[in-house]
Point group: D2
Chain length 352, copies 4
């Protein structure tokens, strides 16, 4: 696999920093360019960024001069990752795509665009061909691919095998979300220390809508959304990394037993398992038998933060089954998910 | 109201200590006797107890000699509160009742006994008459009354008006429970700091069954359980006090609007509101409009820890409505609830 | 004691909110006016303030219209409390004083002014007469009194009896400070959850200098600073309220025994104990014998948050003695301290 | 380097588990035998241990049968690591040594034995030869080597270069210690969540005495203790891993400048740096310039948890200099330190 030069938009933010850390030793991708707001442009990254990752800022990026988020300044990259804030992502990502620079974005702005894939490689890799219907450039050189909200990743990873085998009728979930999901400075400590906040602004609509596109059927370049209802309550808990979800699911056909569902989870094989994607976890989903597991602090980093952990699988008196699921929100649910998308795009020939 | 002499069984434990603190200045009840295990009996309370309440141990109890939990040693009290561990409560509470000493218990052991009231004054005060069918003593002088599990209190407090107006078909809830619910030493800090544990042993069966008795119909001295299903997932979060519940409810008849439900909650009046019970909160339920509320650290102490806080009331795409509810688990959900039961028992003439 | 009308400058901030809560039922002082930045002026307090106190915003202030922090708008008050940010306190407080409105300030700006009392009633009540040398107005109607930094209060409260009996030569301390000391939003949760930050900007110089003025000798209207050295290391810990200090002190003359020092602490009597100040704690200092105490979460609220808790008193192999001290940083160390200052000023006739 | 078979005593405890995790892929040492209490002996390790490490229990040990801690059952190992509780370590470790099995212990029991090295490879590697004066066996085949208390490691690592260049007169320190230092279940969450406990039983005497042996001079097989005084206050904070120390040091001769001390720290080279010990950190000490650093949550894992982090180096008004130091208490301060000792013992030919 040849090496690709990548740019990072929103490089000084929390997601941008996570991109930098995860790409530090990537076998295919080399960070060539960093983009941030006008306030940072022109400074070295060392000067511009308030580095919040636990490991030191890589020397390879510390000396890079931060650029404006304009495609004209990114002529030397093969594609860009975007960790942009939603307040600017529509305009900036669109401008890059129209200039022929592919954008692999973590921002929410284009997730519901009917021509933009909302992609989780293990869940809906076929949606990747939606790119071909994008019209940012005449020659299809510029396009946008997105990954879903951080709660949605463990949700759809577990719903996918259930949908295939039983069909899904309804989902109720309560999320207990880590503070890193709010970026930096993010949640004031006075709000969350020894506390739970039962509301996260703008989170629930994403959790309720994105799974329907992700589990939708692609036909003739168009996604027909899945036909079930999700009801979500999003809460914030004093945890650093790892969103934990308590999920109940109503199914179209009934499992013969809860053990049958357990086997389904255990034996589920990712459709991209054999592609050799560097960031793909060996086991994208793990079912814990110990009722105390999974726990965010113990298990969020499993498989480099790319695994969805599942536990407490039970028959439910209301709806049909229930379980908890957990994934690392800033790795699997953000930068790591976008990098995995990029790897699939390379493998499928969309990035060359 | 004349003054009553009370004993506390399990006085050295976390619940026992909470009884002591809450009864410290009680207008009707005076602590006369403290009972604990053989290991503590004979010592002063100061020696026997590892006091964990934030306020100092009251001088009035510090010098009391701890007694064995045997009715023969409690001849000088009008009734006892029990904060006994479930491993001994069946035997000890039964022995007291048979000896003619009323027991007002926080232990789970007799909650499902068909002759024992499982009582929340604001929810099912009429169940109190079940005492009359108890056969511990021939003259009805000895009896047992229980209060429910700490999660169940805010749950049934909110379900009660819904049941009356709409009828309840099904309930799904996820609890985020405070560490004080596990007693002392309870949850190891290495397990819970910066973490969530998605399981609490033996909790969910209580949460799923007790509401059906509490909301059941008493006829001819016998409770017909309510006919709906509760599915609960109980988790532990790093919070000191206050269990927060994320609840979705399916209703038999549909509300005209969510505002109608909000008004129902706002205007709900406790059936014991006018009895002048000293521990009864002025407002047993409060509906917060601010979506960020209620929060355990901010609101668990409202109305002396006796109020159920409600928030985030919404229509739900699955089932019918959803909301969060929160109450102080060791006050409203344990010792404070038992004391309120005692006050109602006095008012209704069962304690004289 | 007649009633006084007071204004609060910086009323929307964390300190201002604490003033409001503490003054809610004050027997002498009634909140008449609230001042904040231009952005808030003209709005009702309910609209302007992001209320962060746990108890609800008092109705008596919620409807008040927030004013500009200009003396011309505060003609109806007897004096003002200032919780202003240090970036504006020099100018605003000076303007009020020059207009003849007394200012009782928690801001650091005038603490080291040679004519301004840096006042802790239990420590240096005589310094109050420094007011007479102030020249803000010709008729002495306008003046400024300050209270010290929140770490300094428990420090000087414990140093005072040591200074009187033994003389102080040197002090080394490490503070473990609560997050509420940084205001709101203050410390990001990502920085402090499960962590300690070994630095608090601008804190150590205040801790090292203010005790010297507080324990200085007032002669002819001028304070001669105390002649010892303080070395401080200020750290932030994940605690809501209560700054804990680990202190070692070198003394001029040696105690006969550590028990002698313990007795000194136990028997120390505040010089203002008999003045009937409403906010004065019955016991401004309490020496805990239990080595595990004091602890911020258990003891910060003792005596309404106005008590300095002391523990772990020991002979030290280096310097002479060591102990830990703790006080509520936003009550005793800020708004509550200022209110106590105001009460002393009333009692001494400076406010009439 | 040939491969050695090792046993672990106290294998089910928190320290024992850390030994297992750190030895999992060790290039020189293979876990052959696990010893624990009678209660566990005979069970598989999977059955016997309540595994609390975040990474899964290695399969290579899960099936091992736990043995009694008796030398007769450990005939197949080259030496043992001991993570035994101090209540049994004196007897068990002595029995192993007398049976000719070397013991490399984390327990405190033999640390102050005049023939037992209290060893930190970077600080006093020459003390290793004290082994030769041990008399557990006639042929010197059995011996004991210990590593110090977890607070002492970062303390002596920083004191060593100061002692060599300036001489040390006195040390005052306050430690803020992580909960993992108390083992499992260890500190109850109700005690430490949102709190600081200003006392850790039995900790301060170790912190005050062990540095004097570690920095002592070995002559003729006997250590003359260093001649200075340490005064320690040990506190517990809600941090998972990493003990942070606030240290002030009085020196015999004065540094020309604080920058001179900084250079001393930066340029200090470990005396075992060139021996190729697998667990030795490339940089055993790192001086942070950023005043906010080091922080336990961010930096405890640096260099595999084996680095001592230093920061906030300043001249002090009392004593001479002050700084903070931090190291991972269960890696560098316990199991990792013992493993490094074992590696040095191999390199020096004491284990063959």
């Amino acid at each position: 696999m040849s090496n690709f030069k990548v740019g990072i938009l929103g490089a000084t933010g929390a997601v941008g920093q996570k991109f930098i850390r995860l790409l530090q030793d990537h076998p295919w991708f080399t960070i060539e360019a960093l983009g941030a707001s006008e306030r940072s442009a022109g400074k070295t990254y060392r000067e511009a960024a308030n580095w919040v990752e636990a490991t030191p800022m890589p020397e390879s990026v510390a000396g890079l001069t931060v650029r404006d988020c304009k495609s004209a300044d990114f002529g030397d990259v093969d594609f860009v990752f975007s960790g942009l804030d939603s307040s600017v992502a529509t305009e900036v990502e669109g401008e890059f795509a129209r200039a022929g620079i592919p954008v692999i974005s973590n921002a929410k702005n284009y997730r519901q665009d009917p021509t933009v894939p909302l992609l989780v490689p293990e869940v809906n890799p076929d949606h990747i061909t939606m790119i071909e219907s994008q019209t940012f450039t005449a020659d299809k050189s510029g396009w946008i691919v997105t990954n879903p909200n951080c709660v949605v990743v463990p949700l759809v990873t577990t719903l996918k095998p259930l949908a295939e085998k039983y069909g899904i009728r309804s989902v109720i979930l309560t999320s207990m979300q880590a503070i890193s999901g709010a970026g930096y400075p993010g949640v004031p400590s006075l709000d969350i220390l020894g506390n739970v906040i039962p509301y996260i602004g703008d989170e629930e609509p994403k959790v309720e809508s994105e799974p329907l596109k992700l589990l939708g059927i692609l036909e003739n370049g168009k996604v027909t959304f899945a036909d079930f209802t999700v009801h979500a309550t999003a809460t914030r808990v004093p945890v650093i990394n790892g969103h934990l979800l308590s999920i109940a699911v109503g199914l179209d056909s009934k499992p013969a037993s809860i053990e049958e569902v357990a086997e389904l989870f255990r034996k589920w094989k990712s459709p991209v398992a054999d592609l050799g994607l560097p960031t793909a976890p060996a086991f994208p989903m793990h079912l814990y038998e110990d009722q105390r597991y999974p726990q965010p602090r113990l298990h969020a980093d499993s498989e480099g933060g790319m695994q969805t952990a599942v536990g407490r699988l039970r028959k439910a008196g209301v709806l049909d089954i229930s379980y908890v699921a957990m994934a690392h929100n800033t790795v699997r649910g953000a930068a790591g998910g976008a990098i995995l998308n990029a790897e699939l795009l390379v493998k499928k020939g969309f990035i060359q």
